[in-house]
Amino acid sequence: MSARDTLFASIRKSLGVTGAEGERRAAVAERLRQHPRGVIPARGQLPPAERVKLFARMVEAANGSAEILNSADQVPAAVAALLRRHNLPMQVRRGNDPRLAALPWDKERQLDVSVGASDGHQLVSVGHAFAGVAETGTLVMTSGTDNPTTLNFLPDTHIVVVDARDIAGDYEAVWQHVREVFGVDALPRAINLITGPSRSADIAQILILGAHGPRRLHVLVVGEAG
């Protein structure tokens, strides 16, 4: 018998089943089809504008920083201002997400913007989130042709743009949106939920930011909530 056969036989023996029971199969199919929501915390269940405020507050509670911009066109200036504020070189690497590609980067003449994945040599990256979750200040990043996963982890400073309309109260609302965009049960290769900058408390339980991922996470919430 293969390891697979042995393992499944042991499970079925322990459960006292054959695997062919219609009722059990129906229960499983039903759960997968309905994917019932469990307990949803009341915390994130707010009107849109309040939800965005909670999101920004929770990002900060997780040691990130957040700025609310009226329009996406203000992103390049906000990025340049952040770099100046922290005395960083005026260079960023971004993905080719159409929402980022459409921004007026050329208005920031000093800012050198390159496009693509990170090989570990970039200090600052700019990405676009698929969504945000107000409940915990969590960013939802989806990988794909235009959204390299390496931009989320290798640079020292990670700047993330998120549309105010994509800020949900809870994770469950995001999964619903994921299914609408990517199709039922077909996820992007990687989904990174990011809550604050990288950290470790492995040295004598003292919390320090910037373990292997970014030391700094800055979130730019753009547009009208709705």
């Binding site: 697979r4 459960l15 994917h35 693509g116 996963t149 292997h212």
Partner: protein, 477 residues
């Protein structure tokens, strides 16, 4: 068996003696009781739905375990459809062989590792090294225990037993390419040194091995939860990603995993949410600028299917948060290494005997005061003291407990099942002891209780048994 060389559970008592006499360990352990316990309480207090979420988490795990064969089939189907490979391993040996086969096929020399308790369980690092492949742990705590050739002493904080001074000394010992007189006073400097060294490994590794906090049946996805971002780099940068999982990691849907994530970080590290929760579904896709070319999931049994059919099924709900050990007075006193294998504390006291046998780990379920704090904080409500009691019963039934314990218990059982005799014997005993202690109020030494009085005095009883006092109280009311 392969675990034998690391297994010191049979020497629990001796390990405990050493641990109690180790000032560095005692100072390192002090932080648990004063830090994480309070922070967890504060974080939990901010979420009024926390207890309802624990019930929900328990129900999800129970439902999944009752349909485990079907959810694993579903996971396999979806993972394969996304271009991944699913492998099964009944034993630790089979899992190790599969990892090696995948590494050899990829001509791998250097393997980076995210934190994986299944990896510890199958001792994958030693095995890879024996076969000419260099494994590098990338979680800072795991890196520390790797360079010290130790087991992790905690399932979430592997190096919680170390002081900063020890870590500094280890870095000087191992990082010999750096100036020996460099300043390592700050925690930040130590972290930066490890970050720079490991960054290089991330970028040059051929294979990345991670664990899985969860597998999602609905989508064929594996999930890791980290704060450092190390597991994420481990599974993004190398050509091949291997996930080490065990059968009970599977959950049905994205919604189900969201319930579990809400209780995991709060219970483990007192965070509302861990920094990185990464969902991986298959290898790099056409047009993707990054990600691994191959994606393998190895699903291990190693004694778990047997637990599913017996008294220990509840233990398979465990999501490895470590809250039970953070709240355990025994763990806080003796630390994780005393338990003698990879799973310490209350969860280890139940799980370790299931994997390595009660004959090797009989001390573990006995090393508990049954204070119940572990069960009180468990996010999936595992009745840990009850399960430890099952192990004690089995140990007794199999005549594994020492003769003195067995005859003592037999004598006690004889008395306790004869209420009149018990009452007479106890009042004589308590009266006698009370008389002896009348002047001193406490005993510095008692026959047959030397181990107790060596560390503290035994208070003298108040001449009358509780039952007698209770009866009198009822009468006088």
């Amino acid at each position: 068996m392969a675990f034998a060389e690391h297994l010191t559970s049979p020497a629990f008592k001796e390990n405990a003696r050493h641990a109690l006499a180790d000032p560095q360990l005692q100072s390192a352990l002090h932080g648990i009781e004063t830090g994480i316990v309070d922070r967890r309480r504060a974080t939990v207090a901010k979420l009024p739905e926390f207890d309802a979420l624990r019930d929900s988490a328990r129900a999800i795990k129970n439902h999944t375990l009752a349909h485990l064969d079907l959810y694993l089939e579903q996971f396999e189907q979806k993972c394969t459809a996304a271009g991944g490979h699913v492998h099964y391993a009944v034993t630790a040996e089979e899992a190790r062989a599969k990892v090696l086969e995948i590494c050899r096929n990829a001509n791998a020399r250097l393997v980076t590792k995210g934190k994986s308790m299944v990896g510890e369980e199958i001792a994958i690092n030693d095995f890879l090294e024996q076969n000419g492949i260099t494994p590098v742990e990338t979680d800072l705590g795991e890196y520390l225990v790797q360079i010290r050739h130790e087991l992790p002493s905690h399932i979430i904080m592997p190096a919680v037993h170390l002081t900063k001074a020890q870590i500094e000394a280890d870095f000087r010992r191992v990082h010999t390419h750096l100036a020996p007189d460099r300043n390592l006073e700050e925690h930040q400097t130590l972290l930066t040194e490890a970050r720079v060294i490991l960054r290089d490994r991330f970028l040059s590794a051929d294979v990345g091995i991670t664990g899985a906090n969860f597998l999602i049946a609905e989508t064929g996805t594996s999930i890791i939860v980290t704060n450092e971002g190390n597991g994420d780099l481990t599974q993004t940068l190398p050509r091949v990603h291997i996930v080490l999982a065990s059968i009970e990691k599977v959950v049905p849907t994205l919604e189900d995993v969201s319930q579990l994530l809400r209780v995991l970080a709060r219970s483990a590290t007192a965070q509302e949410m861990s920094v990185y929760t990464t969902f991986s579904t298959g290898p790099r896709r056409a047009g993707d600028p990054d990600g691994p070319n191959e994606y393998h999931v190895i699903i291990l049994d190693n004694g778990r299917t047997a637990m599913l059919g017996g008294q220990f099924r509840d233990m398979l709900r465990c999501i490895r948060c470590g809250a039970c050990m953070n709240h355990c007075p025994v763990y806080a006193a003796v630390g994780g290494h005393t338990y003698g294998w990879v799973y310490p504390g209350p969860m280890g006291a139940v799980l370790t005997p299931s994997i390595v046998g009660i004959e090797n780990a009989g001390h573990l379920p006995n090393a508990s005061t049954f204070c119940g704090r572990c069960e009180e904080v468990c996010p999936v409500r595992i009745p840990l003291p009850g399960l430890m009691r099952h192990w004690r019963e089995r140990e007794f039934e199999r005549h594994l407990s020492p003769a003195a314990v067995r005859s003592g218990l037999a004598f006690w059982a004889y008395l306790a099942t004869r209420p009149r005799l018990y009452a007479v014997a106890m009042s004589l005993f308590v009266f006698g002891l009370g008389l002896l202690g009348k002047f001193f109020r406490r005993f510095r030494w008692l026959p047959l209780a030397g181990n107790w009085t060596q560390h503290r005095d035994f208070p003298a009883p108040q001449m009358q048994t509780f039952q007698a006092q209770w009866k009198r109280r009822i009468r006088t009311q």
